[in-house]
Subunit: 366 residues, 2 copies
């Protein structure tokens, strides 16, 4: 059991440096072995020091969600940035994108002819600097066009002066039990269909981008040229419950203190309350999850409710309740939300606080 | 329909200055009319300018959730702060509390003899500066002791040198349809029982503190001496769906842009995608809610899914889909989480940007 360093006040996020590095290396090796390129999603961590480790391990670039995130990583030296998002670009966004293209290779998503034309118009002479990938819907039904419509979007983009390099998709429906294999197959099917249509229409398709953490390692031998997993650097309770990582792979936990303790009885649950609530763990809770996160050293306990500053943890009947003041490690359900709630994280190595990293892109929503 | 000022990039939080002031004034008047004192919970907004309006309208002090929040509001001149939380106080927390008591009247929660003794021990000579309220459980089954145990906790606190002033409770189970009246009754019952027992045991009970936004106005003629509503300053989609506020009372919205648009068909939903996701709206979603927030100007639309940077909005069949690039106002489900995700908010008056307020206590989790 890893110790929580005494000098940390709770709640706070702890990143285990060795486990983080192992996760970074493992994914890099697996993606390389599959003959793919790795473009990890930096929205998960938002930390330049972690991006640097991913790039050192062989990532070809970073994926980000917003122009603001791209700006932060470009300031920290990233040279290849993919905004895997259907951007709507007005004059201000165009100015920012133009500045970004002066310091990095920038690619962005587009999923409609209108968005492509608007983007090209506002970028004007600089439109050629921007590479676009057409987003296709592979079954998640969020953004993205049907693969059959990809050519229409690509033609509009090319007509607006943008450089079309290929297609991308996000198999968000892979984040559910039993879904990764099916979602990965749909993902590859959508990329293949759209890519073939683009090639037939005369586009040189050099990038077919897919892959979430659940599907990234299921893409071997398929049509994708690159994958964009994010959560793999830390793991989280959702990945744990989806069997995509093991407890010993979890590199990020929230240190929390037992502030309230109740033996319960007469219909009232036997429980402890931790000082880590939704304002540090995030409140994502898929219907299939066992609760609002897991206790890494007490996997049988259940976080049954989350307030802003309280986690209510129902304790296994056959185990003694932890003492008041005891400090426990909580694995958030969705680690991307937890990282976005703190200004910095404690970096731990061998049970000792070895560094603090600033979450430089926290809150960069636009 | 309120305009979204052109100069705002989306997603961003907009606060309507006039509606905010009306909400502040209405609650102040209602609480005064009920013969109660108002100690609003500042964790909702975390903004000194809003706290100042609450105090100017007659609030006797502020409620906060953490020592960090208390420090921020004390720096901004708050003179009476209640940490309505069962604090576990070690040496570092004791030092911070001691500094706080030098600039403000400070009261804190306690729900066990152990926590009271630990707090008193670490505060040492300064223990007498701290007022404690015993937290009782009025049916939410989170923190708080059964009212019958309040005397044990109070005796331990007094024995540790702390000043016991009364009791408090949080009727968290009031945040569900049909529950406010029942929860308010349980709240008053728990406060009455604990208070009587404390009086009988010789404690001078001067504060009985209760009240969430759903129950604050149901406490007329009851035993509470003060209430601690928070959400009322803004309103949110949960309060809207609980009928505790009307659409025209909503003072906070997230401005968002339509980035993707799909007519759907063949089992695929007819929808738009907005650029406001869980990283600006928060992802609280009670089982009884209609979705992940509401669109203030399109109340029939349903936010069926929320990713970090996407809201998927299924559109009413009889209404045309909004255009790409159109900007819409989203009401978050739980406004306290939304405020904690941004560094500042746009203050709007008469459809014009009139100010920016810093969310000074954002992220102060400890």
């Amino acid at each position: 059991m890893t110790t929580i360093p005494d000098e940390l006040d709770t709640p706070c996020i702890m990143v285990d440096r060795e486990l983080l590095q192992r996760n970074v290396d493992r994914m890099a090796e697996a993606v390389r072995a599959a003959g793919l390129e790795l473009r990890p999603h930096a929205k998960t961590h938002k930390v330049p020091e972690i991006a640097a480790r991913q790039l050192a391990a062989g990532a070809v670039g970073l994926t980000v969600a917003t122009i603001g995130e791209a700006e932060v990583f470009a300031e920290h030296g990233a040279e290849d940035l993919f905004l895997a998002y259907p951007l709507w670009v007005g004059p201000r966004q165009a100015r920012r994108l133009r500045r970004l293209t002066e310091r990095a290779r920038v690619s962005v998503g587009v999923d409609s002819a209108e968005a492509a034309v608007t983007m090209g118009t506002h970028l004007a002479d600089a439109a050629g600097e921007l590479t676009v990938l057409v987003e296709v819907d592979s079954g998640h039904h969020r953004s993205g066009v049907h693969p059959a419509q990809a050519v229409d979007v690509a033609r509009a983009a090319a007509g607006a002066g943008l450089h079309v390099a290929g297609v991308f998709t996000f198999p968000g429906h892979s984040y559910a039990p039993g879904m990764p294999a099916e979602a990965a197959a749909q993902e590859q099917g959508a990329l293949a269909e759209a890519s073939e249509l683009l090639s037939t229409a005369g586009f040189a398709v050099t990038r077919r981008s897919g892959g979430s953490t659940p599907t990234a390692l299921l893409t071997e031998g398929t049509v994708a040229t690159e994958v964009r997993p994010g959560v793999y650097v830390f793991g989280d309770a959702e990945q744990l419950e989806l069997d995509r990582c093991a407890p010993e792979d979890i590199a990020l936990t929230v240190a929390a203190t037992v502030v309230s303790r109740h033996e319960g009885g007469a219909g009232i649950p036997r429980r402890i309350v931790l000082d880590a609530g939704s304002k540090v763990l995030g409140s994502d809770r898929p219907a299939w999850a066992t609760g609002y996160g897991r206790l890494l050293d007490h996997l049988d306990a259940r976080i049954t409710a989350l307030s802003e500053h309280h986690a209510t943890v129902v304790w296994p009947e056959d185990q003694p309740l932890p003492a008041l003041g005891e400090r426990l490690r909580v694995v958030p359900n969705h680690v991307c939300l937890a990282m976005n709630l703190v200004d910095d994280v404690a970096v731990v190595g061998g049970g000792v606080l070895v560094d603090r990293w600033t979450v430089a892109a926290r809150g960069r929503n636009s």
